[in-house]
Symmetry: C2
Subunit: 131 residues, 2 copies
């Protein structure tokens, strides 16, 4: 089912900046910042590949930094909605939210494609010179 709304594409970057689109919300800087550190990505990959909730100490064993650093990184990943922390007794268990991330990435991909398709040859008063 196509619920596509064809919007005239912005003729200039300045106009593009003003025209609000779902893309602006989906290009979430805080999400990408969370994924922009090697240690954090390693932790997230471990959790996804492991497929279960893991303790902080357990996760610290898979990267070379201090346990306190791992603790902070996991807290940040949780704040970004990439993992979920739950306290079990004296242990903290972090579980991957891979499904949520995959869904967000797919939504973003769809919106990018939708933006690219919004402009047809000849539109935008000739300002659009797609080849």
């Amino acid at each position: 089912m196509m619920t596509q709304v064809y919007t005239r594409m912005a003729a200039t970057p300045k106009r593009a900046a003003r025209s609000k689109r779902p893309l602006d919300r989906m290009l979430d800087v805080s999400l990408f910042r969370a994924l922009g550190d090697p240690t954090r990505v390693r932790l997230l990959a471990c959790l996804i590949k492991c497929g279960r909730a893991c303790g902080v100490g357990e996760l610290a064993a898979c990267c070379s930094v201090d346990l306190s650093v791992v603790s902070r990184h996991l807290a940040m990943l949780a704040r970004a909605g990439l993992i979920k922390g739950e306290k079990k007794g004296r242990e903290m268990r972090y579980a991957p939210l891979g499904g949520d991330l995959a869904a967000r990435l797919r939504e973003l991909a769809a919106e990018i494609d939708a933006c690219g398709a919004a402009c047809e040859p000849g539109c935008c008063e000739g300002a659009c010179e797609k080849k």
Copy 2:
């Protein structure tokens, strides 16, 4: 067509870190770093929403930082494969590579899902406690 290969899921994060998967390559830190700055995201969004190649000065008009800063940001986005620069006379034209980005995001989403599906209940010597 399912070409899914069922791999035993890593029982511990440490084992997970050792077991190489396409996920490790797809979780590209340099890509996410490029997307982890508000000015860069704004420039990229402008280009995608505009749908055509734009000059540096034109793009600088849509954000509040100096032209030199915009120039550097665009160079970085190009290095990350998010946009493509081409010199036209004395003008530099940067074009969005939205399709490439969308494809990368979709690949990553698929791999995340594949990792999550690799483990079946009862596998991993009982170490996998998915609920």
